[in-house]
Amino acid sequence: MTEKVLIVDDEKGFLDVLAERMQSRGMEVTTATSAKEALQKLEVETFDAIVLDLMMPEMGGIEALQRIKEKNPDSEVILLTGQPSVSKGVEAMKLGASDFLIKPADINELTEKIKLAKAHRMILVEKKTAKKMKDILRTKGW
């Protein structure tokens, strides 16, 4: 099963290379060069994981994270930043980020985290599905 990933970063050079490498690792990658573009893409599709740069012009990573979480609380967001600081990390974690990585990141670590995020999301989705089933079973009462 392939992971569907959205990568958001304002540095196009970084974005393209990363996307290519992820694809070569068997993931389905979509890119966005700004938070706005990412939000637009999120309107039409869902992703297993979203990799978000913390420092972007116009809309920063933290704000984008908030918007994403507002729309879809189940989203798995991994923050990627060039400026590691524990307090920023804590802030992000509080807003519901799944993980926090420091640039330059190891590709293997990133793929690991994405897989982990996906697994987590699967569990959540399964739980939801199970709950729905139960509800259906209870309410319909065949």
Partner: protein, 584 residues
């Protein structure tokens, strides 16, 4: 020198290297000296001046008082003595005028006259009548002096030209000091006769000895040759010689200072007119000045005490004030330095953060591109020639990692610049930090327990540092734990000033030999697995920075427990980075 060093005020050896062009403003020793000397001069000069003036005025007043008293004593006494003598001379004059020459030739009449004189005046011992040839033809008295010729005696010769004569005191036949008063009577024929009477000096002596003389002094009569005419307490009995020269003639009472045998005497004298006598009053100056000396001694003691007190107060106050200024200046310089240092570090922090951030982005691109090259090579699975390329890509990646470490360090340096204190809930921080690791814990089924005792108050500390400390510790614990391990985090209050946080894992534990070195920089047991050996060393530094301490206990195979003690407030433990002002 040890005594001095214990009294030496703090500013004494102060050398301000930091005040630059205003250095002269902070020369405390000069400031102190100026304060001490100017205050002392202003305070002591009038005091000493007044004392000296007062001293001189007093001494002059006392001396002139002594002179005046002596002069008065002498002139009073002179008056009594003159009166005494002129009284007797007048008595003789009266007898002389009252009786004719023939009557005076009658011994019976003369005896009656002597009797009357003795009764009326006292002191007369004999009475004689001498004609102008010097022959005493009538004599009444205890000795048989009738017929004695006085013509060759000085006093008789003197009397030829004068009217009356009073002799020196002499012993005479009776071996009794007495003096002789003679009165001349001129006859119309051109001849004359003399009435001569001896007077006992007893009355004379009594008269003088009754006079009280202050200052252990003495009053007596001498003749012009310095032979005592009355007894003297200081210089012996009648007819002895006084050891001082008789002062020169003066018709008025005079007072002199005379030195004799190492002692100073205040001497008042007066020549008694019509007699060979000089009345002298001699007083010991030292005795007279005794009360003044006593006063003077008290004055000097008082002056010395006052000066000492004033000097002590001036020294004390000046030292205190200059010390205060010194302390204030010290604080000022320290504050300036702190501000300067903090500013410098803050700019340095901002600069390094900016640089690190700007470098990190291109570094990320390099990393990814090199990674892509590697990916491409390994995916195509081509042979030989590509091994070299693969090696090149690997070395690029290794260099990127090195750069990344540098920027990471720069960023952490920037973050450590300032300690921002705020009240913090320790449980909140612990949970926040654990949030980072929640996913991993879930994934590896590690049990995490946080137990914060309700008695743990909010502590005043730096949030960022606390987060980093715990993140480092938890990361360490997770690295040590196998899947299915357990991490216990407990917090409790340890005493009035601090709380204690325990982080205990059930991991692999640390060997006893390694425990001691665990906080040393670059000590790592996982160097092969990419550990830098800095984690715990940084943690240790961070704990120190916020005034706490950290200790570790471990058993191999059982687990490790870190104990962190944190102060409730930083005030009591935080010390300034620069203790003393330094230049630059």
């Amino acid at each position: 020198m040890t005594l001095w060093s214990s009294f030496k005020p703090a500013f004494w050896d102060h050398e301000d290297v930091a005040s630059g062009p205003y250095k002269h403003l902070f020369n405390f020793r000069r400031m102190w000296k100026l304060a001490v000397f100017s205050t002392a001069a202003v305070a002591l000069a009038p005091l000493i001046f007044m004392t000296v003036v007062d001293y001189n005025v007093n001494q002059q007043a006392i001396e002139s008082d002594i002179y005046y008293q002596t002069a008065r004593l002498v002139s009073n006494t002179r008056r009594s003595i003159s009166f005494f003598l002129s009284e007797r001379r007048s008595a003789l004059n009266f007898i002389d005028k009252d009786n004719s020459y023939q009557a005076l030739g009658d011994p019976l009449r003369v005896t009656a006259l002597l009797e009357n004189l003795k009764k009326g005046f006292g002191g007369f011992t004999d009475l004689g009548v001498i004609d102008d040839t010097g022959l005493q033809h009538t004599y009444v008295g205890p000795y048989n002096l009738a017929g004695k010729n006085y013509s060759d005696q000085d006093w008789f010769k003197e009397l030829r030209s004068g009217e009356a004569h009073i002799s020196d005191v002499f012993l005479g036949l009776r071996q009794q000091p007495h003096l002789v008063v003679s009165v001349k009577h001129d006859l119309p024929t051109g001849c004359f006769y003399v009435l001569r009477a001896s007077i006992d000096t007893q009355q004379f002596n009594d008269l003088i000895s009754e006079v009280e003389v202050s200052g252990k002094g003495d009053i007596f009569l001498v003749n012009t040759e310095g032979v005592l005419q009355t007894a003297s307490r200081l210089f012996g009995s009648t007819l002895g010689r006084i050891p001082v020269t008789v002062p020169a003639f003066s018709d008025k009472t005079r007072v002199l200072e005379i030195k004799s045998a190492g002692e100073e005497f205040i001497t008042g004298y007066a020549y008694i007119s019509g007699t060979p006598f000089v009345l002298m009053a001699v007083k010991k100056k030292s005795e007279l000045l005794k009360p003044w000396n006593e006063t003077r001694k008290k004055l000097v003691v008082f002056l010395v005490l006052s000066i000492t007190t004033i000097l002590m107060v001036i020294l004390g106050v000046s030292t205190y004030l200059v010390n205060q200024i010194h302390a204030a200046d010290h604080k000022r310089v320290m504050t300036l330095h702190k501000v300067e240092y903090a500013n410098k570090m803050a700019s340095l922090g901002r600069l390094s953060a900016g640089v690190a951030h700007e470098i990190n982005n291109p570094l990320a691109i390099i990393n990814e591109k090199a990674g892509l090259i590697k990916d491409l090579i390994s995916l195509r699975n081509e042979t030989a020639a590509d091994d070299k390329l693969l090696g090149l890509a690997d070395s690029v990646l290794a260099s990127v990692e090195r750069c990344a470490n540098v920027t990471k360090r720069l960023l952490s340096f920037a973050r450590h610049m300032d300690v921002r204190l705020q009240p913090l809930d320790i449980e909140e921080i612990l949970r926040e930090v654990l949030g980072f690791l929640g996913r991993e814990a879930e994934y590896r089924s590690i049990e995490v327990h946080v137990a914060v005792n309700p008695d743990v108050p909010k502590i005043e500390s730096d949030r960022g540092r606390l987060q980093e400390i715990f993140l480092n510790l938890f990361n360490n614990a997770f690295a040590a734990l196998g899947d299915g391990g357990r991490l216990d985090v407990t917090a409790r209050r340890s005493d009035a000033q601090s709380i204690t946080v325990n982080v205990r894992d059930t991991g692999c534990g640390i060997a006893q030999a390694d425990l001691k070195r665990i906080f040393e920089p670059f000590f790592s047991t996982k160097t092969e697995r990419g550990g830098t050996g800095l984690g715990l060393s940084i943690t240790y530094g961070l704990v120190q920075e916020i005034g706490g301490d950290i200790s570790v206990e471990s058993q191999v195979g059982q687990g490790t427990e870190f104990t962190i003690r944190l102060p409730l407030t930083l005030e009591s433990v935080r010390k300034p980075k620069h203790e003393s002002p330094v230049g630059g």
